[in-house]
Symmetry: C2
Subunit: 127 residues, 2 copies
DNA sequence: GTGATTCTAAGTCACTGTGACTTAGATGTC
DNA sequence: GACATCTAAGTCACAGTGACTTAGAATCAC
């Protein structure tokens, strides 16, 4: 159940994941072109290759080797990364309390009427 | 007005800041003892010294050199770091939208009755 | 089939941030 | 004066990151 893995992703690794979230699955070529512009040059392609190798090692990405051009798929969702970052932020700066973080954020945020209604609904449900 | 500085603080730098937030102001000795245990040895003391030097360079800390034992004071508040981290998280993973982050957090958090009331109040005020 | 292209595999490299550590000399204490 | 404690100003090893290189396998164009 509880996979408590700390997910640590660098800036460019995140761009790669972003591309995978967008496309579902993709080859290195497609990813490199998306991240660096069309077409990515050989060095940029190699960088994307290295980033994917590291993401695979971290189990953030799955590599399908069946066809010659390997196909990559994200193994972590953006929401997972968000939750992870929130937990880590809470533990570093709010004594582990997501509630503190939430209340802080409540004061910063400018909600639309719709969003306010949604929050009200969520809160009322919790009662 | 808007100081948009990205504040980047390492794990141990944060412990040092934590000590300063707690004490108001402190010498290196006091900080080292707080962070590493009483009494901190010479190496730990030197590490604290280096951390403070770096925090000073980043303007996260102010050093008062008037007395022989320098006195340090935090220049950034914990809330500032929280806000900063939230902004940075939103921009990395939520297309810059704090609202998205807020709604996400709303689903994760288990609020007490009091906290729910507080949120309701904040939301109603915004109407 | 041959040659050119594109891919994978498996590295290296330079730069940076971080925390640990060292040493010299100034200041303070007894 | 002797000794402890402080500041100043470094160095050092290690890890993460993104850029880069090269060799060889698979594929494509002709």
């Amino acid at each position: 159940m509880g996979k408590k893995k700390r997910i640590e992703v660098s800036e460019y690794e995140l761009s790669v994941l972003g591309c995978l979230w967008h496309r579902g699955e993709a080859t290195i070529r497609e990813i490199a072109d998306d991240v660096y512009g069309h077409p990515a040059d050989a060095v940029q392609y190699a960088t994307a290759q290295k980033l994917l190798e590291r993401l695979e090692a971290k189990k953030c990405v799955r590599r399908d080797r069946r066809s010659h051009k390997h196909l990559f798929k994200a193994l972590v969702a953006r929401e997972e990364l968000i939750d992870n970052s929130l937990d880590s932020l809470a533990s570093k700066l709010c004594a582990g309390s997501l509630n503190t973080l939430f209340l802080r954020l409540a004061g910063k945020v400018k909600l639309t009427g719709e969003e306010r209604d949604e929050i009200r609904r969520m809160i009322d449900d919790a009662d």
